[in-house]
């Protein structure tokens, strides 16, 4: 007999009953609207059990990979355990192993956790200074790198970024939370062409996603475009050039708005023009956009209007806080 486990309660499902209807019958207040698998307002996450394919129609690959499903279209065959609360709220201690300034205002921080820490390269974690937290994206690859790697831009008057830049040193402990976010590589179609574009420390998740894809033997071309204002703002430049020499299908482009000398891979072409030159037919590509929120949203709209499918655009917009 099919049943679900939700909030430690076992709930039996009637023949042909959906998870949404069972939860509503029990009095749980589950957001929902169309009840037809379209609006996605009843999206939930399974932590154990088999999700029927029909409950994941129309979801992004990255959502499927994390066990998300639509409760209104879900009629499980057996048992399904559903996450009642956001699992990501637990704090996890981490130790600073490396603290290196890699450009003008960017710190590379590498952390070690005592307990197992599972994530997808490109997802982000919250880092705490007392009760204040900021989100930073992961440049490292789970299962390949021993340490978690973050790139932290120092923000003028930023409480957390200045503290990480100037006060934190190797050996110090900090609190972090589980990784979240939908901007990561899925290996379903390894032939696909990938466009990875971002500005500033948006490079962190993009490097993670590129290395993750290459490590999983992605066969299609991968183009990484990093947009910055000045040449001094480029970082990990040599590593990316080395990667493009090491892998036949990896290409690196640096879009530098103010540059005196323009030698490939550096170009002064703006990032929005550059990506549409590279991915001239955006519908044939999978797109990953990271960094400044306004730029990410602008690029997303341009790619979509030029033919990219919304389900093939993955974004990690950095939302800056006032302090």
């Amino acid at each position: 007999m099919a049943h679900i486990i939700f909030d430690d309660e076992r709930i039996e499902l009637d023949q042909g009953q959906t998870v949404l209807s069972a939860l509503l019958d029990k009095g749980y207040d589950i957001p929902n609207s169309c009840r037809a698998g379209a609006c996605q307002s009843c999206m939930m996450q399974a932590v154990d059990g088999n999700i029927p394919d029909s409950a994941q129609q129309g979801l992004k690959e990255t959502e499927k990979a994390q066990g998300y499903f639509l409760a209104c279209s879900c009629m499980p065959d057996e048992a399904l355990t559903i996450a009642a609360h956001d699992q990501s709220s637990l704090c996890i201690p981490a130790t600073v192993i490396e603290h290196t300034i890699v450009s003008n205002d960017i710190l590379k921080l590498r952390l070690k956790t005592e307990q197992d820490f599972n994530y997808r390269a490109g997802q982000f974690i919250n880092v705490f200074k007392d009760s204040l937290s900021r989100s930073y994206s992961l440049a490292s690859v789970d299962g390949v790198d021993d340490l978690l790697e973050l790139h932290i831009r120092r923000i003028e008057n930023g409480i957390v970024s200045n503290w990480l830049h100037h006060e934190i040193k190797p050996g110090d402990k900090l609190d972090i939370q589980q990784a979240s976010g939908n901007c990561f590589y899925t290996s379903e179609t390894s032939e696909e062409k990938l466009l990875l574009a971002g500005t500033g420390t948006g490079l962190a998740p993009l490097i993670g996603i590129a290395r993750d894809a290459l490590q999983q033997n992605h066969a299609g071309d991968i183009h990484l475009v990093h947009g910055v204002k000045q040449v001094d703002d480029l970082y990990m430049h040599q590593l990316l050039i080395d990667m493009s020499q090491q892998f036949d299908n990896f290409y690196y482009h640096a879009s530098v708005l103010q540059a005196d000398k323009v030698i490939a891979p550096v170009t002064t072409e703006s990032i929005d023009k550059l990506i549409l030159n590279i991915a001239a037919k955006p519908s044939e590509w999978k797109h990953y956009l990271c960094g400044d929120e306004i730029i990410v949203n602008t690029l997303k709209k341009k790619l979509f209007l030029a033919g990219a499918s919304m389900s093939n655009i993955f974004t990690d917009p950095f939302i800056s806080s006032s302090d």
């Binding site: 979509f304 499918s309 389900s311």
Partner: protein, 121 residues
């Protein structure tokens, strides 16, 4: 006799049509100002709900939902000409997908049936 929703192609057709339809909406100066600054992912999901409804698929929208959901747009000047434009773009989307003319008319009729709710009158 299969239903309109089945003839159009069900959920799979909704997922294909939504990109084409939303692209047309964002490119059309008659209506795109109403979509400035909205979260594109959320908007895509809302439009899937809308397409499911007008394709004659299963839905639980009520007149009240339609009124509440568009009230702020009516306040910004949403009127019949915008609804006409949306129905036109819907038709163009379905033509592109090879849907038969009589089915497109049936879709337009469903869309028209919620016009007064959308325009809050």
């Amino acid at each position: 006799m299969s239903s309109l929703f089945e003839r159009i192609g069900g959920e799979a057709a909704v997922n294909t049509a939504v990109d084409i339809f939303y692209r047309k909406v964002l490119s059309d100066d008659r209506v795109n100002e109403f979509f400035d600054g909205v979260d594109m992912e959320q908007q895509i999901n809302k439009q899937k709900g809308f397409l499911t409804m007008v394709f004659g698929g299963p839905n639980n929208y009520t007149g009240k939902d339609m009124r509440e959901g568009h009230k702020h747009l009516v306040a910004r000047g949403l009127n019949d000409s915008h609804v006409d434009a949306i129905i036109e773009l819907l038709g163009a989307t379905l033509t592109e997908l090879g849907v038969a003319a009589e089915d497109i008319q049936a879709v337009a009729d469903i869309a028209n049936s919620v016009r007064d709710d959308v325009l809050n009158r």
